[in-house]
Symmetry: C2
Subunit: 218 residues, 2 copies
């Protein structure tokens, strides 16, 4: 257990937000788990939503920085040459699975939190998260458009969303799949591999064909 109260509260909040979501978690619950006094949460963070913001920032900023770093590296390497889909997908997905981006990541709580950040549409949650995500979204959108120039830009953006959705859903439900379907019981790297294969293939798919619509083949 971390020594200072502020960090303990941050950790406890992360755990509970990941498990139950923002609205369903009370400060009482958080401070109890943190073995801290109820009032200390407001003393250190000011309000519940400010605490949420601190929790998100602590995790998202390093992951997004790592994503951008990998993308920079990749773009520098290929120069003005051809940009392949696969390394771009990896640059986006891998940092989430990487437990050592910054010291202190405790699995699998963090994975769930990331998943929830993408799926939660509570306005407090969303506002904070969107602010932190805009740059990454734009950079990766451009990178995928460059890797798949034949695909219309709008469809590329949707594919970015599909990728995020696959990632987020996997993170959130990872520990519940056993209740729902036979648990495949993979380790993290295998899961990242499976997700990468799926997304890379999706990104490489042909765009809409002439004459075809979404309701075709029915």
């Amino acid at each position: 257990m971390p020594p200072d109260t502020k960090t303990r509260i941050l950790d406890a909040a992360e755990t509970r937000f990941a498990e139950h979501g923002y609205s369903a978690t009370s400060l009482r619950d958080i401070t109890t788990l943190a073995t801290a006094n109820l009032a200390s949460a407001n003393y250190h963070f000011g309000s519940k939503s400010a605490l949420l913001e601190a929790v998100i920032r602590r995790r998202v900023v390093p992951v997004n920085n790592e994503r951008l770093r990998l993308l920079d590296e990749l773009e520098a390497k290929v120069g003005s040459g051809r940009l392949d889909v696969e390394p771009v997908v990896r640059a986006f997905l891998a940092p989430v699975f990487q437990t050592t981006v910054e010291s202190g990541f405790r699995e699998p709580k963090f994975m769930q939190l990331v998943g929830r950040m993408h799926s939660e549409t509570n306005s407090d949650f969303r506002d904070v998260f969107l602010r932190l995500f805009v740059e990454v979204g734009k950079r990766f959108g451009s990178a995928f458009s460059r890797a798949r120039p034949e695909i219309e830009a709008g469809e590329v953006m949707w594919r970015l969303h599909f990728m995020i959705g696959s990632l987020a859903h996997t993170m959130v439900w990872e520990r519940y799949v056993g209740e729902m379907l036979a648990p495949p019981a993979r380790d993290r790297q295998e899961l990242l591999g499976a997700l990468t294969r799926f997304v890379v293939a999706g990104m490489r798919a042909e765009g809409v064909q002439s004459g075809e619509t979404g309701s075709a083949a029915r």
Copy 2:
């Protein structure tokens, strides 16, 4: 506005659960929107979680029935022959986009609700939803395994999750993407088409290659 109070409450609850989620929505908010008395919610449904269950059932049961019907039809058609990935994907995705499965679907509220049902892990929400989803999950898992027999069963199950994630995330965020990325402004059928292309390609991807792991190519 529907005539009877019970339906109005159901509609209002659906709207608010879709917009803000279960925990963040109060019965007061729901009954006000429904122009009904606070006490009437408990009179008609017994409790908040029972209301949630009614909301989910009303929408999920017809969609899942339609999914199973399409899959039955497909399996009957191909008999013991080859089962292609694409129509299975379509059988899963299309009923969600079909606004006329049962009369009374009001877009795009319903799409958001479906998205939330897949992403919400609040235990009330999850329990109800899992119960309704188990059969569909198993049937489609088997169908995909049959369509992609070379892929290990565990990976097929994960791909099913990836598909659900893409779908759910798209539903939940459809109306927010404008805040986040340039809005592609597609219509529903185009969106279904884009999602189908992505998922079909993902499902058709090769499985893990010998010697490769998820952390490869880094």
